[in-house]
């Protein structure tokens, strides 16, 4: 009897233990259901709907696939541009962010926290304000251009495509630069975290095995820090591809990104179906790109 009781108790507690994870998950699941799944389904529905008249508030669901084909046809330039800008900005973020994270993690010493703090400080100001500040800094009569002008460097910059018509704004470079600046901390922090975990004795071991410093970095430190680069790449590329603030304030009419088109469709044209279709296409491309990217860089170590 006692034995069976104990078994029952065990079953019950096991059953209870089986429910605990679900109980713990439920707030998050509920959140996702309410604020991710429901909007997603609504968006999908809208993207396949048609509006009876322009100023009708509701669109009728009619499986209107043409929203997607029209959107792809009319806005392929902006899609390509968005991913090209976001890709360039991500690469620049790695190029700038990796050395910074490396120095902070291994050479920061007692200034480590101060340096990390400095990386985060710009976040205390709104994204929009920081971008507008760049606009002012890069104005034709602004400080950077007058310095470049006095050094006669504007012509050189024009030849390599950074400047245009004697100005620094409204160029591909200004938008990519803005994206890089705004998303750089999202690259530095994950790389820093993965570098910081590395046991430096491993590089000593590599050197004992006749690796020079560069080889030790390439064969030991770099592979161990790749999860950070992977995470940083995602955190930079995804928001950058959908961004419209940088293109709006630092770019011109030939630098618009898909985010601006979505905004224009939603707010100016009141064309919710096309806007929804564009958002959906953007989401699908980003998901596919992420999957491919995960295949190449691998997500197993990503925790």
């Amino acid at each position: 009897m006692a034995g069976r009781d104990a078994a029952d108790d065990g079953d019950r507690s096991k059953r209870r233990a089986g429910l605990v994870p679900y109980a713990l998950l439920s707030p998050g699941m509920l959140w996702l259901l309410l604020f991710f799944l429901v909007p997603l389904v609504t968006l999908a529905r809208t993207s396949l709907s048609e509006k009876e008249s322009r100023f009708a508030v509701d669109a009728d669901f009619t499986w209107h696939i043409a929203n997607f084909t029209d959107a792809l046809r009319d806005y392929s330039d902006q899609f390509i541009r968005s991913f090209a800008y976001a890709g360039a900005a991500t690469l620049l973020c790695v190029a700038i962010g990796y050395p910074m994270a490396y120095v902070i993690a291994f050479r920061g010493g007692r200034f480590k926290n101060v340096l990390l703090g400095l990386v985060v400080v710009p976040f205390f100001t709104s994204f929009l304000i920081r971008t507008l500040a760049w606009q002012t800094v890069l104005f034709d009569s602004g400080p950077i251009l007058s310095v470049l002008d006095s050094l006669s460097l504007v012509g050189v910059l024009e030849r390599i495509g950074v400047a245009r018509n004697g100005g620094l704004l409204q160029t591909h470079a200004s938008v990519i630069g803005g994206l890089t600046y705004n998303f750089l901390p999202f690259m530095i922090l994950p790389i820093y975290v993965s570098l910081e975990k590395i046991d430096l004795r491993l590089t000593e071991a590599a050197k004992d095995l006749y690796n020079n410093g560069w080889q030790a970095f390439r064969k030991v430190v770099l592979p161990l820090s790749l999860p950070g680069v992977f995470a940083g790449g995602l955190l930079t590329f995804i928001p950058a591809a959908g961004d419209f603030v940088n293109a709006r304030f630092l770019g011109g009419p030939n630098n618009t990104m898909i985010g601006s088109v979505v905004q224009d469709r939603f707010l100016v044209q009141l064309d919710y179906p096309t806007a929804a279709a564009l958002s959906f296409i953007l989401m699908v491309i980003i998901t596919l790109a992420t999957l491919v990217y995960a295949r190449i860089l691998g997500t197993d170590d990503l925790v």
Partner: protein, 394 residues
Amino acid sequence: MTLSHPARPRRSPRGGPILDRRQLLGRLGVLAGAGVVGPALLAACGDDDDGDTGGGGGASKDLWFANWPAYIDEETVDLFTEASGISLKYTEDYNDNNEYFAKVQADLAAGRSIGPDIIAPTYWLAARLITLGWVQEIPFDDIPNASNLLPELQKPAWDPEGKFSLPWQSGMTGLAYNISATGRELTSMNDLFDPAFKGKVGMLTEMRDTLGLVMLLTGEDPGSATMDSANPAFEKIEEAKASGHIRQFTGNDYMDDLAAGNFAVCVGWSGDIGQLALDNPDLRFAIPEEGGMRWSDTMVLPNGAENVANAAVWMDYVYDPENAARIAEYVGYNSPVAGVREILAAGDDFQKALSESPLLFPDDATNARLHVFASLDEDAEAAFDERFSQIVGA
């Protein structure tokens, strides 16, 4: 033709005039002449919360006017409250016609109140709201001063019966330029496309202003625009955009670009340049020889507005020429109220100069060259917007 602007008291950018003591006293002296110095002084003492003075007898003492930024002087709101006892909530949250429409569309379509009792859509949006039946008739019986509305603005194309809207201010669209960047006065729309200014040219995202001016250059009449007649202008803008001739399409922020030297020349609004020229005398405004555009921002009462009677009191107040003159003096656009010019002409030197400014009071020859963009029906408007936004956003 280049329009110059008389020197005015220094004014903070997009803010109110900075008055020194002498000017302030002078200003109060003007008001004393109008018999309202007492309330003005009271208002100056910061006592702006006494909604019980004055009669009226209405149930509510509230009113809410959502207007464009920097579109009224600093005294009128307080003076109105003093005179009428109505507490006016004056907000400057009307920044963009399309965005505002998108914001209130769902509520108005569903017949819900949007909050403000008066909003300030530009004429073409007023036309859309009137066509959609989303605005209330204005109780003109309670607005005797509405008879001061200039004859040319009565029963305008956007409100053919003249029942639903009353202009707030009108203005002109033309060429705004920085003479230190252009090196010469500009007189023609061709100057906007001069290759010398490549990459230093701005256009407005307000379609009717930009497209209308370019249509005049292509020899078409914006007043009867159709997709066919507008096409050469669309193509001209598209080509200039693709080649990098046009640097940016902007809203109100074109003024920053012009002042900062990013734009040598752009499409601009008459009143803004008057204000900007105070800080930077190199900034000029011209109605090109091909012609310019004329527009009005209106006051309309959205459906669901609760304080219509108080709105009528406000409209009557600002259509009093004395009050209209005070507003016109500050904003520098074209007042829709008859008699403003005479009042300014009888004022101090500064006001006298304003009364002679072609920016505030264009002469008959200029008026004859100003065009109002055609009223587009829903389908045509959608086609125009679509084409224009593909140029601006592609």
